[in-house]
């Protein structure tokens, strides 16, 4: 039963990681830039959920909408500051910009909200059901369900709409896409927007799952999103999602084997091992051109 409990914890935690990985991969694939501020995006999502709860008296729908609004605004600013200018520049410049942006975001939230841990109201309720002696909160199942729904929506968007076609074109080959008339700036802005929105929602779920938020939570989250995304070669969304899920489950089971302190270590080692054996992750798509771009970074 201990095993089942850990499995369920792993699944819901993994679902959240998967969502973060998806958002991160989307941005990395679309804009071609690794965003070191992704963890802080998630953190902002968590905090906007927290503020929404006090503004809207814990109405779940309004909280979700508010989180989406804040994340979208942030993503537009992020794009204008760190990405718009540097789409053709050496990669390290925008990377550094995102680091700077992340520092600003984190400290701004600290200044506004204070340094201390904040309790998140239980938007999805506390009800649970019993299974063989252990208590399983419905919250965990809701989270998995929400993630699945979001993935379905995203998949529909990417694969069956014209916007999706544009997004995929730009991520495959930016120059070719601009040659056939796609507005690259607008599309990367949109890609960034969707990625940050997903990040914000992941932050909301993260806050509900753990029940508390802290302005410095972004750092560890960045690493986890990156680890999961790297497995998918920074461009393959389904693999990244799967990696996120795997990471969540693996982390929860590793407690049984290793002391708690080493848990974060595992995601980093995972990351490095993947990169050692597969320097570009598992790229299942036809990515000759963007690999060259990545190499020139």
């Amino acid at each position: 039963m201990y095993f089942v409990e850990q499995l369920i914890n792993g699944l819901s935690q993994g679902a959240i990681y998967a969502l973060m990985a998806i958002g991160f991969t989307l941005i990395a694939g679309e804009v071609g830039l690794v965003s070191f501020t992704y963890g802080d995006t998630v953190m902002l999502g968590a905090f906007s959920a927290y503020w929404a709860c006090s503004l809207f008296a814990e109405n779940f729908l309004l909280t979700v909408l508010f989180t989406i609004l804040v994340s979208s605004l942030m993503s537009i600013v992020l794009h204008a500051v760190c990405m718009a200018q540097f789409l053709d520049a050496p990669k390290h410049i925008s990377m550094i910009c995102t680091i700077g942006f992340g520092i600003i975001l984190k400290n701004a939230v600290q200044l506004i909200a204070g340094y201390e841990v904040k309790a998140m109201p239980e938007l999805l309720g506390r009800s649970y059901f019993e299974l063989g002696g252990i208590r399983i909160g419905y919250v965990k199942l809701y989270i998995v369900a929400i993630v699945i729904v979001l993935c379905a929506i995203l998949s529909f968007l990417l694969n069956r709409t014209k916007t999706g076609v544009r997004l995929r074109a730009v991520s495959q080959d930016r120059k070719a896409a601009s040659l056939i008339g796609i507005d690259v700036q607008r599309t990367t802005r949109l890609g960034n927007l969707i990625g940050c929105m997903i990040g914000g929602l992941a932050g909301l779920l993260y806050a509900i799952y753990y029940g508390s938020i802290l302005p410095t939570m972004g750092g560890a989250i960045s690493m986890k999103a990156m680890s999961a995304s790297v497995l998918g070669g920074l461009c393959n969304i389904p693999v990244a999602a799967f990696a996120g899920l795997l990471l969540g489950i693996f982390e929860n089971f590793s407690i049984a084997l290793f002391p708690q302190g080493y848990r974060d270590l595992i995601s980093f080692l995972f990351l490095i091992l993947v990169l050692v054996f597969k320097p570009h992750g598992f790229e299942f798509r036809f990515k000759k051109h963007s690999r060259k771009e990545a190499e020139h970074a």
């Binding site: 200018q85 050496p90 990377m95 680091i99 700077g100 400290n107 680890s227 974060d264 570009h280 020139h296």
Partner: protein, 335 residues
């Protein structure tokens, strides 16, 4: 406008340098405040850290953002050797450098086949792995309790106690390191690094063995970081893993970015500027970090190579396609 200021200084190098050298050497005598001397020691220490990061980032074009990992190793090696094996400072300096450079090699190994973004992620991951292992390996490192009671530096049998004395020691270390770096950079190795930075494919085609020189780059950069870490352990006399978080990596990184990459002067200036801001904003320290972030972004927008960075290198370009044009332009304005 900044270009003109920089060029003016470059043209009148010698007088500026003499004035600067006198100020630096006489500093502790001019300023009587022990507190300010303490800040000076810390600033010079960071100048050394930033210089070591600059070797990796600025000269070879890697993008390492996990320097705190090397700092941690350098510091802990020194701290543990001093407290557990009772070795003296001057003996530990090279040992700490060598141990850290071995780790530099370790970091290099998986990154050889990796490109820009992946390399950065790995360096960040490496720094965190080091920190977590040090934090948890209680039997060796005392875990979260840190290493305390590190003795002070002994010079010819005399124990150094005052801040002034420590200042001169770190100044000596910095000058010695800069001299070594200068020699390395003007040798075949340094030229190989810069060619790798500008265009790895071209370098390879001209016979530069990429892997070998990249490895040397990490090893040398890590070595100087280890030396600085050793001093840090003996100066603070108490170290623990909270001093080597991701924030610390970003701290040193911002010194290199803002001050300049690809020149020896750059990180010196950067460390000076950042530490100056730290002290100025002591009363409003929450805003200090915000300012760092803004400075970093501003620097990237206006002058990507940093205030005193290498202007005619790839670091200065903001448009990939225009690389040839801007390099030519920089050359024309230099002449």
């Amino acid at each position: 406008m900044l270009n003109r200021a920089v060029n003016y200084v470059k043209a009148h190098r010698l007088p500026f340098f003499i004035v600067f050298a006198v100020l630096v050497l006489a500093f502790p005598i001019i300023i009587p405040s022990n507190f300010v001397r303490g800040i000076a020691v810390r600033t010079v220490l960071y100048m050394l850290f930033a210089s070591s990061l600059n070797l990796i980032n600025g000269y070879c074009g890697h993008f390492s953002i996990g320097h705190a990992g090397f700092m941690c190793i350098g510091c802990y090696t020194a701290g543990l050797l001093a407290t557990k094996a009772g070795l003296g400072f001057w003996l530990i300096v090279p040992i700490s450098g060598i141990v850290t450079s071995l780790f530099g090699l370790l970091v290099f190994l998986p990154t050889n086949r990796l490109s820009g973004m992946y390399l950065s992620i790995v360096t960040l991951g490496f720094a965190e792995i080091v920190r977590i292992i040090v934090l948890n390996w209680t039997s060796l490192t005392n875990g979260p309790l840190g290493v305390k009671g590190i003795p002070s530096i002994k010079l010819f049998g005399l124990k150094l106690t005052s801040t002034t004395e420590y200042y001169y020691v770190i100044l000596f270390l910095l000058v010695l390191s800069l001299f070594c770096m200068y020699r390395i950079l003007h040798s075949r190795v340094g030229r190989a690094w810069m060619s790798i930075r500008e265009n790895p494919d071209a370098a390879c085609s001209l016979g530069v063995e990429l892997a070998k020189y990249k490895a040397i780059n990490f090893v040398v950069g890590a070595f100087f970081c280890g030396v600085a870490g050793c001093f840090m352990a003996f100066y603070y006399r108490y170290i623990d893993t909270t001093m080597f978080t991701i924030d610390e990596s970003f701290n040193v990184l911002s010194m290199v970015i803002v001050g300049g990459m690809g020149t020896l002067v750059g990180p010196i200036l950067g460390a000076f500027v950042i530490n100056l801001i730290t002290e100025t904003f002591r009363f409003a320290s929450e805003y200090r970090m915000l300012l760092y972030g803004i400075l970093i972004i501003l620097t990237m927008w206006i002058r990507p190579q940093g205030i005193a960075g290498a202007s005619n290198s790839v670091l200065a370009t903001k448009r990939m396609a225009k690389r040839v044009q801007s390099a030519a332009k920089a050359k024309r304005s230099e002449a």
